[in-house]
């Protein structure tokens, strides 16, 4: 029998149309020529409805999921593709687990350019390859024009957690040192600087990165149990993350403003927009509560890793029935660092 000729996808001028999500040949073609090719790995190659993966013996399974909706899709230092990989890897890594597989589900908007989709998918594939975490299963849907914002990507990650390891928000205790792996606010400011209504040149790049290597280095440097809590301060920034931990663990925190690294460009942009870097999103930073006697070894391990060069001890966990996160200002005063209220909005004057 003669093989059906299929014109290859036009990745220069083509656009996503409703056929790509209809479950027919066009959809299969998009999967074959774009997703399967870019993400290629043995589990995906099988082409079944799901992927079969092995869990190393002596481990429990950690699972985390994250939906990615960002505007603009491409920003200085990254794009929605690598962000979708890093974000989920980091959520798994913050449990103390080693991420080993990802799924990716795409919601595409009718009319979205295939060239841009290809660029995003390739960035995603590169991020997964660099991290050593394959995308083993996926899905694509198309929504009508006006019902999506170009592309939404949901990723789920699986990780292997050694059976006896306990790391979590509730485990932070009074006396623990709070370590931060680097400067805050870079991602949020990089994205803000690209919004159409702002259009300023900040020269700031997103810090988006996969942190499982940094976590592994940190955990290897101290005895099991010394690292009590790990969390990546994404949406809501460092302030919100610390408040979450304080509430979960039933503790308070004392921070030193002078110890928190903020790049000059980020500080300047925040000053201009009336925003506080403590509430700005990060995508490549972690905060750790570490037993005080192991804090210096943990800090040294973070600093020895390329993603933790600017790591710092920013404060301590304290006993506080009110679960307040307090900050000693550089100016010499004291204040509360509260939860973020709603969306961070610039002040008028």
């Amino acid at each position: 029998m003669k093989k059906v000729y299929l014109r290859p996808l036009d990745f220069r001028h083509g656009r996503v149309d409703m056929n790509h999500g209809a479950g027919g040949r066009a959809g299969a073609q998009l999967v074959d020529e774009l997703f399967a090719r870019a993400f290629d790995n043995p589990a995906l190659r099988v082409g079944d409805d799901g992927a079969v993966v092995d869990l190393p013996p002596g481990h429990r399974l950690v699972m985390s999921t994250d939906g990615h909706v960002i505007s603009p899709l491409v920003f200085p230092g990254g794009d929605i593709g690598c962000l979708a990989v890093h974000g989920t890897i980091n959520d798994v890594a913050m449990m103390g687990a080693l991420p080993f597989a990802l799924s990716a589900s795409f919601v595409l908007e009718e009319g979205f350019s295939l060239a841009e989709l290809k660029r995003i998918v390739e960035s995603m594939a590169a991020a997964a390859r660099d991290a050593g975490v394959p995308i083993v299963t996926g899905d694509t849907k198309v929504v009508e024009k006006g019902k999506g914002d170009g592309v939404f990507i949901a990723t789920t990650g699986l990780g292997a957690l050694p059976k006896d390891r306990r790391i979590g928000g509730a485990l932070a205790r009074p006396g623990d040192a709070l370590l931060l792996s680097g400067s805050i606010g870079d991602h949020g400011v990089a994205v803000l600087s690209q919004r159409e209504s702002l259009g300023f040149e900040a020269g700031v790049k997103s810090d988006t990165a996969a942190l499982h290597g940094l976590v592994a280095a940190l955990l290897a440097a101290v005895p099991e149990g010394a690292v009590r809590t790990l969390r990546d301060p994404t949406r809501g920034g460092l302030a919100t993350t610390l408040n979450e931990i304080a509430r979960q663990a039933g503790v308070g925190m004392r921070l030193q403003e002078a110890a928190i690294p903020v790049h000059a460009e980020v500080e300047a942009a925040c000053e201009l927009l009336g925003l506080d870097p403590l509430y700005i999103a990060n995508e490549g930073k972690l905060v750790a509560a570490v037993a005080p006697e192991h804090a210096s070894a943990a800090l040294a391990a973070l600093r020895a890793h390329p993603l933790g060069r600017e790591a710092a001890c920013i404060g301590q966990v304290v006993d506080d029935a009110q679960h307040f996160v307090q900050l000693a200002t550089r100016f010499g005063g004291q204040r509360i660092v509260d939860w973020l209220t709603g969306e961070p909005l610039p002040r008028i004057c």
Binding site: R254, A264, A268, Q322, F331, G332, R335, T341, I348, C349
Partner: protein, 381 residues
């Protein structure tokens, strides 16, 4: 940051704090009002209150444009977007202010209102140019600092012959509000804390100069120090006020000599005078009607006046009965004296004006200072 860190130096702050403490006369209390929300924010964010001697009490004034914006005005903006299908351009921090019918601009947006956040009046004008088939209304709020840009875009719109642009003018005036504060019945009542001096906002005076405060300082015998917004500026201004009070002076002094002059920015004043005129009265949230305290477009600019262009009557909406914002704004009460504070009224769900923006007295106290209300925690420091 260059040129900014110098004004946030902790060591200089300690030295200044020591001098303020040394100049406070023993057995005497000093109550000053920082009128502007920007100062409230600076005092809270840098923890300035901690550095001041206990004899000094700072009262947070009503100078937060978002806080004093009455509910009725937000209702108008929402009506423009929802009923009249206009694009409403607004400064970001008005988005969350609660309006009638459990709406806010953010919630109205979720119901299909086309509300766009802008960073300047010029962005609103650009929206009008880009959407010739739609009505675009700029929700013009703020004190003297944001008024000149509104005046300029109205003039620009006229020059370009734009027919789809208008302004919902809610610009308010600082000096008349300060005077109102001292003349209110509550402030004059027996036992009320008398305000002994004012920290005036530098950015307002960059526009209007320091002169408009002179009659007020002379008439009411209250010193005014025009102050910058960096924490050292604020502390120096407080020190200047202490010395004026000690010496029995009631003058208008200028701490922010970096940019404020007695006359202000004449070009900006001319643009404002050309486009705007005084309103006989204007409702302030928390303060009620204040005479000659706000601006509206002059009749010759009527076609750019959203209140004339659209049928949106003004309906005042009272605050919650137990809300103490009025008394708090006048310095008669502290946020913690209010029954609603921190219970049903929080930044997530503000009931009164002072909780609305981070610059409001209650929100600033909630966000940065409420740990001081709980002595056990403060002692653990």
């Amino acid at each position: 940051m260059k040129y900014i860190d110098e004004f946030r130096d902790g060591e200089v702050a300690q030295a200044l704090a020591a001098r303020i403490a040394a100049d406070c006369e023993t057995g005497r209390d000093y109550a000053f009002m920082e009128f502007c929300g920007g100062h409230t924010h600076a005092i809270a964010r840098y923890g300035i209150a901690e550095l001041l001697p206990p004899a000094i009490r700072m009262i947070h004034g009503p100078g937060c444009p978002v806080c004093v914006l009455p509910i009725g005005r937000i209702d108008q903006a929402i009506a423009l977007a929802l009923q009249h299908r206009a694009i409403v351009a607004t400064y970001g921090d008005t988005m969350r202010v609660p309006a009638s019918g459990s709406l806010s601009m953010m919630r109205a947006k979720a119901r299909g209102a086309d509300i766009r956040m802008v960073y300047s009046a010029a962005d609103a004008l650009a929206l009008a140019r880009a959407n010739p088939g739609r009505e675009v209304v700029f929700f013009a709020i703020g004190f003297e600092t944001t008024t000149p840009p509104t005046a300029l875009v109205v003039k620009q719109a006229a020059a370009e012959g734009l027919r789809n642009f208008s302004v919902l003018a809610c610009h308010v005036l600082t000096p008349s509000a300060i005077a109102h504060m001292l003349e209110s019945e509550e402030a004059k009542a027996l036992g009320a804390t008398p305000i002994e001096g004012f920290v005036g906002p530098a950015h307002v005076s960059i526009v209007i100069g320091s002169k408009p405060y002179e009659p007020f300082a002379a008439q009411h015998r209250k010193p005014v120090v025009i102050s910058g917004f960096e924490p050292l500026d604020v502390m120096q201004s407080i020190w200047m006020l202490v010395r004026q009070v000690n010496e029995g002076r009631a003058e208008v002094e200028n701490q922010f000599t970096r940019a404020v002059t007695r006359e202000g920015n004449r070009a900006a004043q001319r643009a404002v005078a050309e486009v705007f005129e005084l309103r006989e009265a204007f409702e302030w949230r928390g303060l009620g009607e204040v005479a000659f305290s706000a601006l509206r477009l002059k009749p010759e600019w009527a076609r750019f006046d959203a209140e004339k262009r659209f049928d949106i009557g003004y309906r005042p909406v009272p605050d919650h009965k137990q809300c103490e914002c009025g008394a708090i704004l006048r310095g008669v009460k502290h946020p913690r004296d209010c029954k609603l504070f921190g219970t049903v009224c929080t930044p997530e769900n503000p009931m009164g004006s002072c909780m609305v923006s981070s610059e409001g007295a209650c929100a600033a106290h909630w966000t940065y200072g409420r740990f001081r209300d709980i002595p056990v925690v403060a002692e653990a420091a």
